[in-house]
């Protein structure tokens, strides 16, 4: 502390001068130098007292503080083991909290960097689960023209597209927006101009495009020649007219569009006219003074009249369902935030988990500090007895935990960055997720606050306890100080660990059950991929291209079977269609919907779904042959009961198909959803088809299916010059990616459960070792009186067991009250199931007893004679 040194040396010099002058004056008066010195010292009195008094006058708060820190650093430095363990557990706790919070910040709190983002709303149809959906172009127009609570609107939709610029092809993320998009957001370009209402043309002569700042940087090195540059997308030539501001990363968090195009020209006539073609996201700005609730109330009226008008065209039995559709006005301050919709519950649950981890680390640290304080009880009593201020002593304890908390906090911040980057990778789920997780002021403030909180939580209890002690008995001997408090800390750790272990059991259990679900397909050894195409084919040409593609695939070396399908199991859904089944009459309120998939030959052989009776589709099923269908077990059972579906007929959309085969059920949407009664038709009998509509599948006999990729790139181009290989992944990866939230929760839940277990064990070990050392005397006495070693071990373990029992019971109670709201995230496991608690209790018991056994064993090795002489 230079400040103190400075002030002190000044004080020294000042007093020294006085002293020397005294001597000088005495000598001048004729005294011997030695005598003069003696006299001066006599007259001057106690220099140190004068100094102390001056320091008191100047105020010594800061100096004392420095002293406290130096003292804390010294004592901590003397026990490096304790230092490392406590800093590490705090760092993990603080780091995990910071990481999760920075994701919550990025996903849920950060507003769009546009003008008054809090006034932006999303106007949307709502999905049955309440999440925002999309609107059709006519619905957008209707709302734009009739809603009075809003002052501006825009619609947009996103797509990844291949463009050709300077003769080179590249894939870009693209957003298509209405001309009002940028003026609604209130944005100024970095260069050139942004899109404007004049760009809303259905067939512009020279369409404009806007690029993002990052694309400008990446592709053009921020060079102004980018403006005016042309590129081709499909059959259209666009000109780049401007660049968005650097801070703007689009309206969909996690997705930063490289290129923004005018929407209207990209929509087909049908898409502009059909009010059932929902695919647009609509944003609006609230008029001044209007609240989201008021806008929503106005929307409900308009929405009802919109639905009623269209309901007349809907078959009567579907009308109630049609009218049940909902719409709403939601805040869009953070944009069209699908990440928030997908992850907010998971992130909040994770936040609770990591908060518990930090609490655990604090309880752990508090217990250890308490033990250290108790071993310093005598020193503290002496200091109290000779008049040290209690506040000052308390500050000393806090200084110790403050040093630990700041070390933990700064280490935690480093850990956090690494940790949230890992989490973003998991959330990206194999794609790109452009989330900025660099700590902003909110994150830094949060880290600072929790570090201080940790410091207070960990330091107050031991400090308070030590000070409450009466100086007198403390002077005589180290009594079992902090017994109650120490035990309470261990019990708290056991309780928290129990809760975290229950959480881990729930999430890991969910994941295991999901993997055990019967999918109806064999996903091992299968590669799935998409095809992109630069052109649209007429139907006959398309069929020909598809056929060539599949023929080549099937003779590709190393491929056992290859096929294509519009939808594949666990691929995210299945189209449904009305169907009339021969010999079956629907009740008036019964839905006529059945699942409907379009597949190529060898489909079932490739995905590994067993054929029960009949045949698969093959080369016979061309568009000129008689129409054939295959149905799944559920379909057969529902419509035909015990009779065979073979040879029966199904009519859908005016085409009648004969059932030629029955297959085992497979899960389509995801692992959680039930099987849908499904019919399959051959791809060569499906009109209006494109090769790009399909997912392709190739099964290999053994090994990693990804090794096919290089050969596939070539094969696809050779099959047709305008075809390209799109995204490819193994079928197993696709399944993994369908349960990303569950995997994140299981990984992190399990990780934190184990972490909690380790921290709690360290805590139990530390506290028990200390308690045993306090009881050395007693143990020696017991052994002298004939207690066996086993008896001593049992004595110590008995105490651990008692704390374990209380901790587990409390843990179960807390878990029951906390885990209820995770119910929706779980699968095949109930929060109240006894098994959910049995496993954590068993694990915790084993861990706690091992942690308690080590000190117990060393207690049992005590030599009675040495122990009895122990003070």
């Amino acid at each position: 502390m230079w400040f103190r040194k400075n002030a002190d040396s000044e004080l020294n010099a000042e007093l020294r001068y006085h002293f020397d002058r005294l001597i000088r004056d005495f000598v001048a008066a004729g005294m011997e130098p030695a005598e003069a010195q003696r006299l001066a010292r006599l007259e001057f009195g106690g220099v140190e007292q004068v100094k102390e008094e001056c320091r008191d006058v100047r105020g010594r708060w800061l100096e004392d503080f420095g002293q406290d820190f130096r003292y804390a650093a010294r004592t901590l430095g003397r026990s490096p083991g304790f230092l490392v363990v406590s800093v590490l557990s705090l760092a993990l706790g603080i780091g995990a909290n910071t990481a999760i919070f920075s994701l919550i910040d990025a996903v849920m709190l950060r507003s769009l960097p546009v003008q008054a983002p809090e006034r932006l709303v999303q106007i949307t149809r709502l999905q049955p689960n309440g999440k925002p959906g999309v609107v059709s172009y006519p619905l957008f127009e209707y709302l734009r023209d009739n809603l009075k609570s809003i002052s501006g609107t825009a619609v947009e939709m996103s797509a990844d597209r291949a463009i050709t610029m300077d003769g080179a092809e590249e894939l870009v993320t693209a957003e298509m927006v209405s001309g009002t998009h940028y003026s609604l957001l209130g944005m100024e370009p970095s260069a050139g101009r942004l899109l404007q209402p004049a760009d809303d043309e259905t067939a512009p002569a020279s369409p404009a495009a806007v690029i993002s700042y990052r694309y400008w940087q990446r592709r053009f090195g921020l060079n102004s020649t980018a403006i005016g540059k042309a590129f081709t997308l499909g059959d259209k030539v666009f000109t780049i007219v401007g660049v968005t501001p650097p801070r703007f990363e689009g309206t969909r968090p996690g997705r930063d569009p490289d290129i923004t195009l005018p929407l209207l020209m990209m929509l087909s006539d049908g898409q502009r006219r059909e009010d059932s073609l929902n695919m647009l996201s609509m944003m609006a700005r609230l008029k001044p003074g209007v609240t989201v609730q008021q806008a929503d109330a106005e929307l409900q009226v308009l929405w009802q009249s919109f639905l009623l008008r269209r309901a007349t065209a809907v078959q009567e039995k579907y009308r109630p369902g049609f009218l049940r559709q909902r719409a709403g006005v939601l805040s869009a301050a953070t944009g069209f935030n699908s990440l928030r919709n997908d992850y907010s519950v998971a992130l909040l649950v994770l936040m609770c988990i990591v908060a518990l981890v930090l609490l655990l680390a604090c309880a752990n640290l508090s217990g250890l500090l308490l033990a250290r304080a108790a071993s310093r009880q005598r020193e503290i009593s002496i200091r109290l007895a000779i008049g040290a201020g209690r506040g000052r002593l308390m500050r000393q304890f806090l200084a110790e935990s403050f040093v630990l908390a700041s070390l933990g906090g700064s280490t935690g911040l480093t850990l956090a960055h690494w940790f949230s980057a890992a989490l973003v990778t998991m959330m990206a789920n194999g794609g790109t997720l452009l989330l900025s997780i660099a700590p902003d002021w909110r994150v830094l403030a949060f880290t600072g606050a929790i570090s201080l909180l940790a410091c207070a939580l960990a330091g107050l209890a031991p400090g308070w306890h030590a000070l409450r002690a009466n100086p007198n008995p403390g002077l005589k001997e180290v009594r079992m100080g902090g017994q109650q408090l120490g035990r309470a800390m261990v019990i708290a750790q056991l309780t928290i660990s129990m809760v975290l272990l229950v959480g881990a059991t729930l999430f890991v259990g969910t994941l295991m059950r999901l993997y055990r679900v019967d999918r109806g397909v064999r996903t091992d050894g299968v590669l799935t991929f998409n095809i992109r195409s630069i052109e649209r084919y007429p139907q006959a040409r398309s069929w020909a291209v598809q056929q060539v593609l599949l023929d080549r695939l099937n003779v590709l070396p190393g491929v056992a079977a290859a096929t294509a399908a519009q939808m594949i199991p666990i691929g995210g859904g299945l189209w449904t269609r009305h169907a009339q089944v021969e010999g079956y009459t629907f009740r008036s309120d019964e839905s006529e919907d059945v699942g409907f998939d379009v597949i190529a030959p060898k489909y079932f052989a490739t995905v590994g779904t067993p054929l029960l009776t009949g045949r698969e589709f093959d080369e016979r099923d061309t568009n000129t042959a008689s129409k054939a269908a295959i149905v799944n077990e559920s379909f057969g059972r529902y419509f035909f009961g015990a009779q065979s579906p073979l040879g029966r007929h199904v009519t859908s959309v005016n085409v009648t198909y004969e059932i030629v085969g029955v297959v085992r059920d497979a899960k389509y949407q995801d692992l959680r959803h039930d099987v849908i009664k499904t019919m399959y038709i051959p791809w060569m009998q499906r009109e209006g088809d494109q090769p790009t509509n399909y997912k392709y599948l190739a099964r290999i006999p053994a090994g990693n299916p990804l090794r096919l990729v290089p050969a596939l790139e070539k094969l696809v181009r050779e099959a047709d010059p305008s075809l390209r290989l799109g995204t490819s992944q193994t079928y197993s990866t696709l399944v993994d990616r369908s349960i990303v939230t569950e995997r994140i929760m299981a990984t992190l839940g399990g990780f934190f459960g184990i972490l909690a277990l380790i921290i709690a064990c360290l805590g139990i070990f530390g506290v028990m070792a200390f308690r045993v050392s306090l009881r050395t005397n007693e143990i020696g006495l017991r052994m002298a009186l004939g207690a066996s070693r086993g008896g001593i071990v049992a004595l110590v373990l008995h105490e651990v067991a008692r704390m374990l029992m209380v901790g587990s019971l409390a843990g179960v109670a807390v878990s029951l009250s906390l885990t209820g709201f995770t119910e929706k995230m779980l699968f095949g496991i109930k929060t109240t199931q006894p098994a959910v608690f049995a496993f954590p209790v068993a694990v915790l018991a084993v861990a706690a007893l091992v942690a308690g056994w080590l000190p117990a064993r060393s207690a049992s090795r005590v030599d009675p004679m040495v122990a009895l002489r122990h003070d």
């Binding site: 000044e10 000042e14 007093l15 004068v50 008094e53 006058v57």
Partner: protein
């Protein structure tokens, strides 16, 4: 923290210091000497009260300090009066006059 034990004494010392510092910038040793000389050795200031008083007055903003060369050629800490110190001196002097007058009056009358 500050010694409230002898209000009068402390107050008196403070005003004496202010008075002496008001004449010219002066170091601690000089102040002690001056008080002794002027009071004809009636008043002796102990270093133990002088320096804490100086630091207290400095902290209250009545004095300011500067290091400078003393008569002997060595560096010493010179104190001088601040604006608020001058004001304080005036009020204190007036207070002292009133008080000593009152005390003298009572003492005389009592005789």
């Amino acid at each position: 923290m500050d010694a409230q034990k002898s209000d009068l004494l402390q107050g008196t010392l403070d005003v004496l210091i202010l008075k002496i510092v008001a004449l010219e910038p002066i170091h601690g040793y000089g102040i002690a000497q001056r008080i002794r000389q002027i009071s004809k050795a009636v008043l002796q200031v102990q270093q133990g009260s002088l320096y804490p008083a100086l630091h207290r007055l400095e902290k209250r903003g009545l004095l300011c300090a500067k290091w400078g060369e003393a008569e002997t050629g060595r560096e010493a800490k010179f104190y001088s009066l601040t604006k608020s110190g001058r004001k304080q001196l005036e009020t204190e002097t007036a207070n002292w006059d009133r008080l000593s007058e009152a005390v003298t009056m009572i003492l005389r009358t009592a005789e």
